[in-house]
Symmetry: C2
Subunit: 148 residues, 2 copies
């Protein structure tokens, strides 16, 4: 009854997401992939996850079209996992999670890494979902009755 059936029948996009990447590791693998990590052992060392689990998650992420298996960019005869376009479009999700975590899950003054703009060098701490017209989206603005 797990993932596959739910994911196919579930009419709520949020629920499908949770079903797909809502486990302890998948999203952290994606985060690491954004971070430039691509090799099996790099993920393993970074996350401290068991190899069989990592193997399984990587396969599922590849099956889902989020990661892709390519020949390594360095000469190293091995493969590496890179984000597909679909995977890269998870960026807003990771950023949103990250910002919420920064604001609400750390004590005042407690250290966490920074997300900075590559060009300007300025921190991107204030990003927020905005509507196309540039207006910042807040709960009260939306028809939350339709959020599911």
């Amino acid at each position: 009854m797990p993932s596959e059936r739910i994911a196919e029948e579930e009419p709520c996009p949020v629920a499908r997401c949770v079903d797909l990447v809502g486990d302890r590791w998948s999203l952290l693998i994606v985060r690491d992939a954004f971070d430039g990590i691509g090799r099996f052992s790099e993920f393993q060392r970074s996350l401290g996850v068991a190899r069989n689990i990592l193997s399984d998650r990587l396969r599922k992420l590849v099956d889902a079209g989020i990661l892709e298996n390519r020949a390594a960019s360095d000469g190293s005869a091995y493969q590496e996992y890179v984000l597909t376009a679909k995977g890269e479009s998870l960026f807003p999700v990771v950023v949103a999670l990250r910002q919420w975590g920064e604001q609400h899950l750390f004590a005042k003054g407690e250290a966490h890494s920074q997300l900075v703009d590559k060009r300007s060098g300025r921190p991107l701490a204030r990003m927020a979902p905005q509507a196309r017209d540039g207006r910042v989206l807040r709960p009260a603005d939306a028809e939350v009755r339709k959020l599911r």
Copy 2:
């Protein structure tokens, strides 16, 4: 090895989020709360989750300061769960997940509910995380090396 220790020691905001709401139900409960759901049995019917699990998740979300237990707004002598400010600030996360799911987890033409602007009545399908200057944020723009 579980939640509490990890959440306290984990230096990555994303990881702390995953640890806190990265299970099958918590985020869907939050989604339902945005949706106006507040009563125990409403959550239960909406999600189809077992009562003991729902009870546990609601308590954890309250403990985390995401939900709050109030006297019901109708006269009904019972309580209801409402999002705190901290909980409401999860809105961007839910929206980001929702949009990614809409775009990548549904077949062309497959139905899913709409998120519409309450004022204009227009769909808010194009929301995207933007930097403060209004520029839409894309992976290449950010120092992804610092995403973790």
